[in-house]
Protein backbone atom coordinates (compact mmCIF):
# COMPACT_ATOMS: atom_id res chain seq x y z
CA UNK A 1 0.00 0.00 0.00
CA UNK A 2 1.06 3.53 -0.67
CA UNK A 3 2.21 5.53 2.33
CA UNK A 4 -0.40 8.19 1.62
CA UNK A 5 -3.30 5.73 1.58
CA UNK A 6 -2.13 4.28 4.91
CA UNK A 7 -1.86 7.78 6.27
CA UNK A 8 -5.42 8.50 5.12
CA UNK A 9 -6.71 5.49 7.02
CA UNK A 10 -4.79 6.63 10.06
CA UNK A 11 -6.06 10.20 9.99
CA UNK A 12 -9.66 9.15 9.43
CA UNK A 13 -9.38 6.59 12.23
CA UNK A 14 -8.15 9.35 14.55
CA UNK A 15 -11.33 11.29 13.83
CA UNK A 16 -13.49 8.22 14.37
CA UNK A 17 -11.64 7.61 17.64
CA UNK A 18 -12.19 11.20 18.70
CA UNK A 19 -15.96 11.03 18.27
CA UNK A 20 -16.39 7.52 19.59
CA UNK A 21 -14.41 8.21 22.74
CA UNK A 22 -16.27 11.42 23.53
CA UNK A 23 -19.49 9.42 23.47
CA UNK A 24 -18.20 7.02 26.15
CA UNK A 25 -19.98 7.64 29.43
CA UNK A 26 -17.59 8.82 32.19
CA UNK A 27 -18.78 6.01 34.44
CA UNK A 28 -17.12 3.57 32.04
CA UNK A 29 -13.78 5.31 31.72
CA UNK A 30 -11.93 2.61 33.62
CA UNK A 31 -13.30 -0.21 31.44
CA UNK A 32 -12.46 2.03 28.46
CA UNK A 33 -8.82 2.07 29.51
CA UNK A 34 -8.81 -1.67 30.08
CA UNK A 35 -10.34 -2.45 26.70
CA UNK A 36 -8.16 0.00 24.77
CA UNK A 37 -5.29 -1.73 26.48
CA UNK A 38 -6.50 -5.07 25.24
CA UNK A 39 -7.05 -3.94 21.66
CA UNK A 40 -3.73 -2.14 21.43
CA UNK A 41 -2.23 -5.61 21.83
CA UNK A 42 -3.16 -6.07 18.19
CA UNK A 43 0.58 -5.47 17.96
CA UNK A 44 0.58 -9.25 18.36
CA UNK A 45 0.17 -9.33 14.56
CA UNK A 46 3.68 -7.97 14.19
CA UNK A 47 4.93 -10.35 16.83
CA UNK A 48 3.40 -13.32 14.99
CA UNK A 49 5.00 -12.28 11.72
CA UNK A 50 8.38 -12.03 13.45
CA UNK A 51 8.08 -15.39 15.13
CA UNK A 52 6.70 -17.10 12.04
CA UNK A 53 9.43 -15.99 9.68
CA UNK A 54 12.52 -17.94 8.88
CA UNK A 55 15.79 -16.11 8.48
CA UNK A 56 16.80 -14.78 11.87
CA UNK A 57 16.75 -16.89 15.02
CA UNK A 58 17.06 -13.85 17.29
CA UNK A 59 14.22 -12.17 15.51
CA UNK A 60 12.09 -15.28 15.94
CA UNK A 61 12.67 -15.48 19.70
CA UNK A 62 12.03 -11.78 20.13
CA UNK A 63 8.81 -12.30 18.22
CA UNK A 64 7.81 -15.20 20.46
CA UNK A 65 8.50 -13.16 23.57
CA UNK A 66 6.36 -10.37 22.14
CA UNK A 67 3.59 -12.87 21.36
CA UNK A 68 3.62 -14.02 24.99
CA UNK A 69 3.55 -10.45 26.34
CA UNK A 70 0.78 -9.38 23.99
CA UNK A 71 -1.21 -12.50 24.92
CA UNK A 72 -1.06 -11.56 28.61
CA UNK A 73 -2.57 -8.27 27.60
CA UNK A 74 -5.18 -9.64 25.23
CA UNK A 75 -6.55 -12.28 27.57
CA UNK A 76 -6.01 -10.18 30.69
CA UNK A 77 -7.40 -7.00 29.17
CA UNK A 78 -10.58 -8.48 27.73
CA UNK A 79 -11.20 -10.65 30.81
CA UNK A 80 -10.81 -7.80 33.25
CA UNK A 81 -13.02 -5.55 31.11
CA UNK A 82 -15.67 -8.25 31.02
CA UNK A 83 -15.40 -8.65 34.78
CA UNK A 84 -15.84 -4.93 35.36
CA UNK A 85 -18.70 -4.52 32.91
CA UNK A 86 -20.55 -7.40 34.55
CA UNK A 87 -20.60 -5.39 37.79
CA UNK A 88 -22.48 -2.43 36.38
CA UNK A 89 -26.09 -3.06 37.26
CA UNK A 90 -29.22 -1.00 37.12
CA UNK A 91 -31.42 -0.50 40.14
CA UNK A 92 -33.62 -3.57 40.44
CA UNK A 93 -36.44 -3.94 42.92
CA UNK A 94 -35.69 -7.37 44.36
CA UNK A 95 -32.30 -7.00 46.05
CA UNK A 96 -29.88 -9.13 44.07
CA UNK A 97 -27.84 -10.26 47.03
CA UNK A 98 -24.82 -8.55 48.47
Amino acid sequence: MEFVSILSIFVLACFVGYFVVWSVTPALHTPLMAVTNAISSVIVVGALIASAAAGSATSKWLGLAAVALASVNIFGGFAVTERMLAMYKKKDKPAAGK
Partner: protein
Amino acid sequence: MEQVVANPWAMLAYLVAGVCFILALRGLSSPVSSRRGNRFGMFGMALAVGTTLVTHQIASLPEIGIAIVIGGIVGFITARKIAMTAMPQLVAAFHSLVGLAAVLVAVAAYLNPAAFGIAEPGGAIHQVSRIEMGLGIAIGAITFSGSVIAFLKLNGNMSGKPIMLPGRHIINLGTLALIIGLIGYFLTDEAPWVFFTITGLSFLIGFLLIIPIGGADMPVVVSMLNSYSGWAAAAMGFTLHNTAMIITGALVGSSGAILSYIMCAAMNRSFISVIAGGFGGDSGAASGGGQAIDRPWKRGSAEDAAFLMSQAEQVIIVPGYGMAVAQAQHALREMADQLKAEGVAVKYAIHPVAGRMPGHMNVLLAEANVPYDEVFELEDINSEFAQTDVAFVIGANDVTNPAAKTDKSSPIYGMPVLDVEKAKTVLFVKRSMGGVGYAGVDNEVFYRDNTMMLLADAKKMVEEIVKALGH
Protein backbone atom coordinates in the same frame (compact mmCIF):
# COMPACT_ATOMS: atom_id res chain seq x y z
CA MET B 1 9.54 -5.06 -3.71
CA GLU B 2 7.82 -7.72 -1.73
CA GLN B 3 4.50 -6.82 -0.15
CA VAL B 4 3.58 -7.94 3.34
CA VAL B 5 -0.08 -8.51 2.76
CA ALA B 6 -0.66 -9.24 -0.87
CA ASN B 7 -3.84 -11.15 -0.19
CA PRO B 8 -6.90 -8.89 -0.57
CA TRP B 9 -8.95 -11.17 1.68
CA ALA B 10 -6.41 -10.72 4.42
CA MET B 11 -6.56 -6.97 4.03
CA LEU B 12 -10.31 -7.13 4.21
CA ALA B 13 -10.14 -9.25 7.34
CA TYR B 14 -7.83 -6.74 9.03
CA LEU B 15 -10.23 -3.98 8.10
CA VAL B 16 -13.13 -5.91 9.65
CA ALA B 17 -11.02 -6.40 12.78
CA GLY B 18 -10.44 -2.66 12.90
CA VAL B 19 -14.16 -1.99 12.61
CA CYS B 20 -14.81 -4.47 15.43
CA PHE B 21 -12.48 -2.46 17.65
CA ILE B 22 -14.37 0.73 16.82
CA LEU B 23 -17.60 -1.04 17.81
CA ALA B 24 -15.96 -2.22 21.03
CA LEU B 25 -15.38 1.37 22.07
CA ARG B 26 -18.73 2.50 20.73
CA GLY B 27 -20.43 -0.04 23.01
CA LEU B 28 -19.05 1.75 26.05
CA SER B 29 -21.39 4.68 25.48
CA SER B 30 -23.79 2.93 27.85
CA PRO B 31 -23.46 0.13 30.42
CA VAL B 32 -26.25 -1.70 28.61
CA SER B 33 -24.38 -2.11 25.32
CA SER B 34 -20.92 -2.33 26.83
CA ARG B 35 -20.63 -6.09 27.13
CA ARG B 36 -21.67 -6.63 23.53
CA GLY B 37 -18.99 -4.11 22.60
CA ASN B 38 -16.40 -6.10 24.50
CA ARG B 39 -17.39 -9.24 22.57
CA PHE B 40 -16.82 -7.33 19.33
CA GLY B 41 -13.36 -6.49 20.59
CA MET B 42 -12.59 -10.14 21.33
CA PHE B 43 -13.86 -11.21 17.95
CA GLY B 44 -11.79 -8.55 16.21
CA MET B 45 -8.67 -9.70 18.01
CA ALA B 46 -9.31 -13.35 17.17
CA LEU B 47 -9.85 -12.37 13.54
CA ALA B 48 -6.62 -10.37 13.38
CA VAL B 49 -4.58 -13.19 14.94
CA GLY B 50 -6.26 -15.86 12.84
CA THR B 51 -5.72 -13.93 9.61
CA THR B 52 -2.05 -13.43 10.38
CA LEU B 53 -1.57 -17.11 11.11
CA VAL B 54 -3.37 -18.21 7.96
CA THR B 55 -1.68 -15.82 5.54
CA HIS B 56 1.92 -16.33 6.66
CA GLN B 57 3.95 -19.45 6.24
CA ILE B 58 4.26 -20.42 9.82
CA ALA B 59 7.51 -22.18 10.52
CA SER B 60 7.06 -22.38 14.25
CA LEU B 61 3.42 -22.99 15.07
CA PRO B 62 3.99 -25.07 18.26
CA GLU B 63 6.23 -22.40 19.78
CA ILE B 64 3.68 -19.71 18.94
CA GLY B 65 0.95 -21.80 20.50
CA ILE B 66 2.98 -22.24 23.67
CA ALA B 67 3.71 -18.50 23.84
CA ILE B 68 0.02 -17.66 23.48
CA VAL B 69 -1.02 -20.25 26.08
CA ILE B 70 1.55 -19.07 28.64
CA GLY B 71 0.68 -15.41 28.10
CA GLY B 72 -3.03 -16.16 28.02
CA ILE B 73 -3.01 -18.07 31.29
CA VAL B 74 -0.97 -15.41 33.09
CA GLY B 75 -3.26 -12.67 31.77
CA PHE B 76 -6.46 -14.52 32.52
CA ILE B 77 -5.53 -15.44 36.08
CA THR B 78 -4.36 -11.91 36.80
CA ALA B 79 -7.61 -10.51 35.45
CA ARG B 80 -9.66 -12.88 37.62
CA LYS B 81 -7.74 -12.33 40.83
CA ILE B 82 -6.96 -8.62 40.77
CA ALA B 83 -8.76 -6.49 43.36
CA MET B 84 -10.81 -3.67 41.88
CA THR B 85 -8.93 -1.18 44.04
CA ALA B 86 -5.73 -2.28 42.28
CA MET B 87 -7.09 -1.52 38.83
CA PRO B 88 -4.90 1.57 38.20
CA GLN B 89 -1.68 -0.38 38.73
CA LEU B 90 -2.97 -3.29 36.67
CA VAL B 91 -3.69 -0.97 33.77
CA ALA B 92 -0.24 0.59 34.13
CA ALA B 93 1.32 -2.89 34.10
CA PHE B 94 -0.64 -3.81 30.99
CA HIS B 95 0.51 -0.63 29.28
CA SER B 96 4.10 -1.53 29.99
CA LEU B 97 3.58 -4.91 28.30
CA VAL B 98 2.22 -3.29 25.14
CA GLY B 99 5.21 -0.96 25.13
CA LEU B 100 7.68 -3.79 25.58
CA ALA B 101 5.96 -5.91 22.92
CA ALA B 102 6.21 -2.97 20.50
CA VAL B 103 9.92 -2.66 21.25
CA LEU B 104 10.49 -6.36 20.69
CA VAL B 105 8.58 -6.33 17.41
CA ALA B 106 10.52 -3.30 16.21
CA VAL B 107 13.84 -4.95 17.06
CA ALA B 108 12.73 -8.16 15.34
CA ALA B 109 11.76 -6.14 12.26
CA TYR B 110 15.11 -4.38 12.33
CA LEU B 111 16.99 -7.68 12.48
CA ASN B 112 14.88 -9.42 9.86
CA PRO B 113 13.40 -6.75 7.58
CA ALA B 114 12.75 -9.14 4.72
CA ALA B 115 10.20 -11.06 6.79
CA PHE B 116 8.23 -7.86 7.29
CA GLY B 117 8.43 -6.88 3.64
CA ILE B 118 10.20 -3.65 4.43
CA ALA B 119 13.56 -4.45 2.82
CA GLU B 120 14.88 -3.10 -0.46
CA PRO B 121 16.15 -5.76 -2.90
CA GLY B 122 19.67 -5.08 -1.63
CA GLY B 123 18.65 -5.87 1.96
CA ALA B 124 18.54 -2.30 3.25
CA ILE B 125 15.37 -1.12 4.98
CA HIS B 126 13.00 1.29 3.18
CA GLN B 127 13.51 4.88 4.22
CA VAL B 128 9.88 5.44 5.18
CA SER B 129 9.94 2.23 7.18
CA ARG B 130 13.01 3.45 9.04
CA ILE B 131 11.16 6.52 10.29
CA GLU B 132 8.16 4.43 11.24
CA MET B 133 10.34 1.90 13.03
CA GLY B 134 12.30 4.61 14.77
CA LEU B 135 9.12 6.26 16.00
CA GLY B 136 7.59 2.90 16.91
CA ILE B 137 10.50 1.79 19.02
CA ALA B 138 10.89 5.20 20.67
CA ILE B 139 7.22 5.43 21.64
CA GLY B 140 7.17 1.78 22.67
CA ALA B 141 10.19 2.19 24.90
CA ILE B 142 8.81 5.37 26.48
CA THR B 143 5.52 3.59 27.12
CA PHE B 144 7.35 0.69 28.73
CA SER B 145 9.65 2.52 31.12
CA GLY B 146 7.06 5.22 31.89
CA SER B 147 4.44 2.60 32.71
CA VAL B 148 6.84 0.68 34.92
CA ILE B 149 7.43 3.82 37.00
CA ALA B 150 3.71 4.59 37.06
CA PHE B 151 3.07 1.02 38.20
CA LEU B 152 5.66 1.25 40.98
CA LYS B 153 4.17 4.53 42.18
CA LEU B 154 0.58 3.34 42.06
CA ASN B 155 1.45 0.01 43.67
CA GLY B 156 3.26 1.75 46.51
CA ASN B 157 6.66 0.21 45.70
CA MET B 158 7.82 3.74 45.09
CA SER B 159 6.82 6.89 46.91
CA GLY B 160 4.03 8.85 45.24
CA LYS B 161 5.99 11.99 46.02
CA PRO B 162 7.47 13.66 42.96
CA ILE B 163 11.20 13.10 42.53
CA MET B 164 12.76 16.26 41.19
CA LEU B 165 16.12 16.10 39.50
CA PRO B 166 17.96 19.39 39.19
CA GLY B 167 17.82 20.71 35.65
CA ARG B 168 15.36 18.01 34.66
CA HIS B 169 13.61 20.14 32.04
CA ILE B 170 16.88 20.65 30.22
CA ILE B 171 17.84 16.98 30.55
CA ASN B 172 14.42 15.86 29.28
CA LEU B 173 14.25 18.28 26.37
CA GLY B 174 17.83 17.46 25.43
CA THR B 175 17.16 13.73 25.46
CA LEU B 176 14.00 14.18 23.39
CA ALA B 177 15.85 16.32 20.85
CA LEU B 178 18.60 13.72 20.68
CA ILE B 179 16.07 10.95 20.02
CA ILE B 180 14.40 12.93 17.25
CA GLY B 181 17.79 13.79 15.76
CA LEU B 182 18.86 10.16 15.80
CA ILE B 183 15.63 9.04 14.14
CA GLY B 184 16.46 11.55 11.39
CA TYR B 185 20.00 10.25 11.15
CA PHE B 186 18.64 6.68 11.02
CA LEU B 187 17.34 7.61 7.55
CA THR B 188 20.83 7.85 6.17
CA ASP B 189 22.56 5.24 8.30
CA GLU B 190 20.83 2.10 9.50
CA ALA B 191 23.75 1.01 11.67
CA PRO B 192 22.84 -0.91 14.83
CA TRP B 193 24.34 1.71 17.15
CA VAL B 194 21.86 4.30 15.89
CA PHE B 195 18.90 2.00 16.32
CA PHE B 196 19.86 0.79 19.77
CA THR B 197 20.87 4.24 20.99
CA ILE B 198 17.39 5.44 20.07
CA THR B 199 15.99 2.52 22.05
CA GLY B 200 18.17 3.15 25.10
CA LEU B 201 17.51 6.89 25.18
CA SER B 202 13.77 6.28 24.84
CA PHE B 203 13.78 3.95 27.83
CA LEU B 204 15.62 6.65 29.74
CA ILE B 205 13.25 9.47 28.80
CA GLY B 206 10.19 7.42 29.76
CA PHE B 207 11.72 6.96 33.18
CA LEU B 208 12.72 10.62 33.52
CA LEU B 209 9.32 11.89 32.40
CA ILE B 210 7.32 10.04 35.02
CA ILE B 211 9.45 10.25 38.18
CA PRO B 212 8.72 13.95 38.83
CA ILE B 213 4.95 13.46 38.61
CA GLY B 214 3.10 13.18 41.91
CA GLY B 215 0.42 10.71 42.99
CA ALA B 216 -2.55 13.02 42.46
CA ASP B 217 -1.61 13.52 38.82
CA MET B 218 -1.57 9.79 38.16
CA PRO B 219 -4.95 9.79 36.37
CA VAL B 220 -3.39 12.00 33.72
CA VAL B 221 -0.24 9.88 33.54
CA VAL B 222 -2.14 6.62 33.18
CA SER B 223 -4.30 8.13 30.43
CA MET B 224 -1.25 9.55 28.71
CA LEU B 225 0.56 6.22 28.72
CA ASN B 226 -2.62 4.64 27.39
CA SER B 227 -2.40 7.10 24.52
CA TYR B 228 1.29 6.33 23.91
CA SER B 229 0.65 2.59 23.77
CA GLY B 230 -1.83 3.36 20.98
CA TRP B 231 0.59 5.51 19.02
CA ALA B 232 3.22 2.78 19.34
CA ALA B 233 0.81 0.24 17.86
CA ALA B 234 -0.07 2.70 15.08
CA ALA B 235 3.59 3.26 14.21
CA MET B 236 4.15 -0.48 13.95
CA GLY B 237 0.99 -0.67 11.84
CA PHE B 238 2.57 1.77 9.40
CA THR B 239 5.67 -0.40 9.25
CA LEU B 240 3.64 -3.53 8.56
CA HIS B 241 1.04 -1.81 6.34
CA ASN B 242 -1.59 -3.34 8.58
CA THR B 243 -4.96 -1.57 8.74
CA ALA B 244 -6.11 -3.31 11.93
CA MET B 245 -3.06 -2.01 13.78
CA ILE B 246 -3.37 1.48 12.33
CA ILE B 247 -7.07 1.82 13.15
CA THR B 248 -6.53 0.42 16.64
CA GLY B 249 -3.54 2.63 17.24
CA ALA B 250 -5.48 5.70 16.20
CA LEU B 251 -8.44 4.73 18.41
CA VAL B 252 -6.36 4.01 21.48
CA GLY B 253 -4.17 7.02 20.88
CA SER B 254 -7.13 9.40 20.70
CA SER B 255 -8.85 7.67 23.59
CA GLY B 256 -5.88 8.19 25.90
CA ALA B 257 -5.43 11.74 24.70
CA ILE B 258 -9.08 12.62 25.35
CA LEU B 259 -8.98 11.05 28.80
CA SER B 260 -5.84 13.04 29.63
CA TYR B 261 -7.62 16.16 28.46
CA ILE B 262 -10.70 15.42 30.59
CA MET B 263 -8.54 14.79 33.64
CA CYS B 264 -6.56 17.99 33.13
CA ALA B 265 -9.75 20.00 32.65
CA ALA B 266 -11.18 18.51 35.84
CA MET B 267 -8.17 19.81 37.73
CA ASN B 268 -8.03 23.08 35.80
CA ARG B 269 -4.41 22.40 34.94
CA SER B 270 -2.66 22.45 31.61
CA PHE B 271 -1.26 19.25 30.21
CA ILE B 272 2.19 20.87 30.12
CA SER B 273 2.11 21.69 33.83
CA VAL B 274 1.17 18.10 34.66
CA ILE B 275 3.95 16.72 32.49
CA ALA B 276 6.43 19.18 33.96
CA GLY B 277 5.60 17.52 37.25
CA GLY B 278 6.24 18.49 40.83
CA PHE B 279 2.60 18.95 41.83
CA GLY B 280 1.53 17.34 45.09
CA GLY B 281 4.88 17.80 46.76
CA ASP B 282 5.83 20.53 49.18
CA SER B 283 5.53 23.34 46.68
CA GLY B 284 1.80 23.89 47.17
CA ALA B 285 1.74 23.81 50.97
CA ALA B 286 2.95 27.35 51.52
CA SER B 287 -0.01 29.11 49.95
CA GLY B 288 -2.68 27.41 52.06
CA GLY B 289 -2.77 30.22 54.59
CA GLY B 290 -1.02 30.27 57.94
CA GLN B 291 -4.01 29.79 60.25
CA ALA B 292 -4.42 26.14 59.39
CA ILE B 293 -4.69 23.77 62.33
CA ASP B 294 -5.76 25.87 65.31
CA ARG B 295 -9.17 26.89 63.99
CA PRO B 296 -12.25 25.54 65.74
CA TRP B 297 -13.99 22.56 64.24
CA LYS B 298 -16.63 20.10 65.36
CA ARG B 299 -16.08 16.45 65.88
CA GLY B 300 -18.92 13.97 65.57
CA SER B 301 -19.38 10.34 66.44
CA ALA B 302 -20.78 7.48 64.41
CA GLU B 303 -24.02 7.74 66.41
CA ASP B 304 -24.38 11.44 65.57
CA ALA B 305 -23.82 10.67 61.91
CA ALA B 306 -26.30 7.81 61.95
CA PHE B 307 -28.92 10.01 63.60
CA LEU B 308 -28.44 12.91 61.20
CA MET B 309 -28.59 10.72 58.13
CA SER B 310 -31.59 8.70 59.25
CA GLN B 311 -33.50 11.96 59.75
CA ALA B 312 -32.54 13.26 56.34
CA GLU B 313 -34.61 13.26 53.19
CA GLN B 314 -31.63 13.01 50.89
CA VAL B 315 -28.00 12.05 51.44
CA ILE B 316 -25.33 12.53 48.80
CA ILE B 317 -22.22 10.43 49.24
CA VAL B 318 -18.96 11.85 47.87
CA PRO B 319 -16.31 9.12 47.63
CA GLY B 320 -12.62 9.68 46.95
CA TYR B 321 -9.33 7.86 46.83
CA GLY B 322 -9.42 7.40 50.63
CA MET B 323 -12.45 5.15 50.24
CA ALA B 324 -10.47 2.97 47.83
CA VAL B 325 -7.49 2.81 50.18
CA ALA B 326 -9.69 1.83 53.12
CA GLN B 327 -11.68 -0.62 50.94
CA ALA B 328 -14.81 0.96 52.41
CA GLN B 329 -17.06 0.61 49.35
CA HIS B 330 -18.89 -2.51 50.57
CA ALA B 331 -19.56 -1.08 54.04
CA LEU B 332 -20.68 2.13 52.36
CA ARG B 333 -23.21 0.27 50.26
CA GLU B 334 -24.54 -1.43 53.40
CA MET B 335 -24.97 1.96 55.01
CA ALA B 336 -26.80 3.23 51.93
CA ASP B 337 -29.06 0.17 52.00
CA GLN B 338 -30.03 0.80 55.60
CA LEU B 339 -30.70 4.45 54.92
CA LYS B 340 -32.84 3.56 51.93
CA ALA B 341 -34.77 1.11 54.11
CA GLU B 342 -35.58 4.08 56.37
CA GLY B 343 -36.86 6.05 53.41
CA VAL B 344 -33.82 8.25 52.81
CA ALA B 345 -32.89 8.98 49.20
CA VAL B 346 -29.22 8.16 48.61
CA LYS B 347 -27.13 9.35 45.69
CA TYR B 348 -23.44 9.28 44.89
CA ALA B 349 -21.50 12.21 43.46
CA ILE B 350 -18.28 11.53 41.59
CA HIS B 351 -15.63 14.03 40.70
CA PRO B 352 -13.78 13.17 37.46
CA VAL B 353 -10.40 12.99 39.20
CA ALA B 354 -11.52 11.12 42.30
CA GLY B 355 -9.26 8.10 42.60
CA ARG B 356 -6.16 7.25 40.66
CA MET B 357 -7.56 6.71 37.19
CA PRO B 358 -10.54 7.90 35.15
CA GLY B 359 -13.73 6.23 36.34
CA HIS B 360 -12.00 4.55 39.29
CA MET B 361 -14.77 5.36 41.80
CA ASN B 362 -17.50 4.17 39.45
CA VAL B 363 -15.90 0.75 39.17
CA LEU B 364 -15.47 0.43 42.93
CA LEU B 365 -19.09 1.36 43.56
CA ALA B 366 -20.22 -1.02 40.84
CA GLU B 367 -18.16 -3.73 42.52
CA ALA B 368 -20.02 -3.06 45.75
CA ASN B 369 -23.30 -3.54 43.86
CA VAL B 370 -24.26 0.11 43.82
CA PRO B 371 -26.65 0.53 40.87
CA TYR B 372 -25.09 2.84 38.28
CA ASP B 373 -28.20 4.98 38.05
CA GLU B 374 -27.60 6.18 41.63
CA VAL B 375 -24.13 7.41 40.69
CA PHE B 376 -23.84 10.91 39.21
CA GLU B 377 -21.13 12.98 37.60
CA LEU B 378 -20.16 16.35 38.99
CA GLU B 379 -22.08 18.52 36.53
CA ASP B 380 -25.25 16.46 36.89
CA ILE B 381 -25.51 16.58 40.65
CA ASN B 382 -23.74 19.72 41.79
CA SER B 383 -26.88 21.83 41.85
CA GLU B 384 -28.57 19.32 44.16
CA PHE B 385 -26.35 19.88 47.19
CA ALA B 386 -28.32 23.01 48.11
CA GLN B 387 -31.46 20.91 48.53
CA THR B 388 -29.68 18.07 50.29
CA ASP B 389 -29.75 17.43 54.00
CA VAL B 390 -26.49 15.55 54.37
CA ALA B 391 -23.38 15.43 52.20
CA PHE B 392 -21.29 12.45 53.28
CA VAL B 393 -17.70 12.97 52.16
CA ILE B 394 -15.58 9.86 52.46
CA GLY B 395 -11.93 9.83 51.46
CA ALA B 396 -12.21 12.87 49.21
CA ASN B 397 -10.72 16.23 50.06
CA ASP B 398 -9.44 18.57 47.38
CA VAL B 399 -12.43 17.94 45.13
CA THR B 400 -14.72 19.48 47.79
CA ASN B 401 -12.56 22.49 48.62
CA PRO B 402 -14.48 25.74 48.13
CA ALA B 403 -11.17 27.59 47.92
CA ALA B 404 -11.10 26.47 44.31
CA LYS B 405 -14.03 28.81 43.71
CA THR B 406 -13.03 31.80 45.80
CA ASP B 407 -9.33 31.90 46.67
CA LYS B 408 -7.30 33.09 43.72
CA SER B 409 -4.04 32.33 45.52
CA SER B 410 -4.94 28.68 46.03
CA PRO B 411 -3.05 26.19 43.86
CA ILE B 412 -6.34 24.53 43.01
CA TYR B 413 -8.12 27.79 42.09
CA GLY B 414 -10.43 27.31 39.12
CA MET B 415 -10.74 23.56 39.52
CA PRO B 416 -14.38 22.46 39.31
CA VAL B 417 -15.38 21.19 42.76
CA LEU B 418 -18.40 19.54 44.37
CA ASP B 419 -20.40 22.13 46.35
CA VAL B 420 -20.73 19.95 49.46
CA GLU B 421 -20.76 22.96 51.79
CA LYS B 422 -24.16 23.96 50.42
CA ALA B 423 -25.78 20.91 52.00
CA LYS B 424 -27.48 21.44 55.39
CA THR B 425 -24.89 19.25 57.08
CA VAL B 426 -21.56 17.99 55.84
CA LEU B 427 -20.23 14.80 57.37
CA PHE B 428 -16.56 14.57 56.55
CA VAL B 429 -14.88 11.21 57.11
CA LYS B 430 -11.14 11.68 57.45
CA ARG B 431 -8.28 9.93 59.22
CA SER B 432 -7.09 12.95 61.17
CA MET B 433 -7.20 16.73 61.09
CA GLY B 434 -3.48 17.01 60.38
CA GLY B 435 -3.34 15.57 56.91
CA VAL B 436 -4.03 17.70 53.88
CA GLY B 437 -5.10 16.58 50.42
CA TYR B 438 -2.69 15.89 47.61
CA ALA B 439 -2.68 19.49 46.51
CA GLY B 440 -1.26 20.35 49.93
CA VAL B 441 -3.97 22.88 50.76
CA ASP B 442 -6.22 23.28 53.80
CA ASN B 443 -9.93 22.73 53.22
CA GLU B 444 -12.32 25.47 54.34
CA VAL B 445 -15.13 22.94 54.67
CA PHE B 446 -13.58 21.43 57.84
CA TYR B 447 -14.20 24.59 59.85
CA ARG B 448 -17.68 25.47 58.73
CA ASP B 449 -20.57 25.53 61.20
CA ASN B 450 -22.49 22.94 59.25
CA THR B 451 -19.59 20.49 59.10
CA MET B 452 -19.05 17.59 61.44
CA MET B 453 -15.73 15.81 61.21
CA LEU B 454 -15.79 12.04 61.61
CA LEU B 455 -12.17 11.24 62.37
CA ALA B 456 -11.42 7.55 61.87
CA ASP B 457 -10.45 4.99 59.30
CA ALA B 458 -13.09 5.26 56.58
CA LYS B 459 -14.12 1.63 56.69
CA LYS B 460 -14.31 1.46 60.51
CA MET B 461 -16.34 4.64 60.68
CA VAL B 462 -18.83 3.44 58.09
CA GLU B 463 -19.16 0.09 59.84
CA GLU B 464 -19.86 1.87 63.14
CA ILE B 465 -22.49 4.02 61.45
CA VAL B 466 -24.08 0.88 60.06
CA LYS B 467 -24.16 -0.57 63.58
CA ALA B 468 -25.64 2.64 64.99
CA LEU B 469 -28.31 2.70 62.27
CA GLY B 470 -29.28 -0.82 63.26
CA HIS B 471 -30.37 0.26 66.76
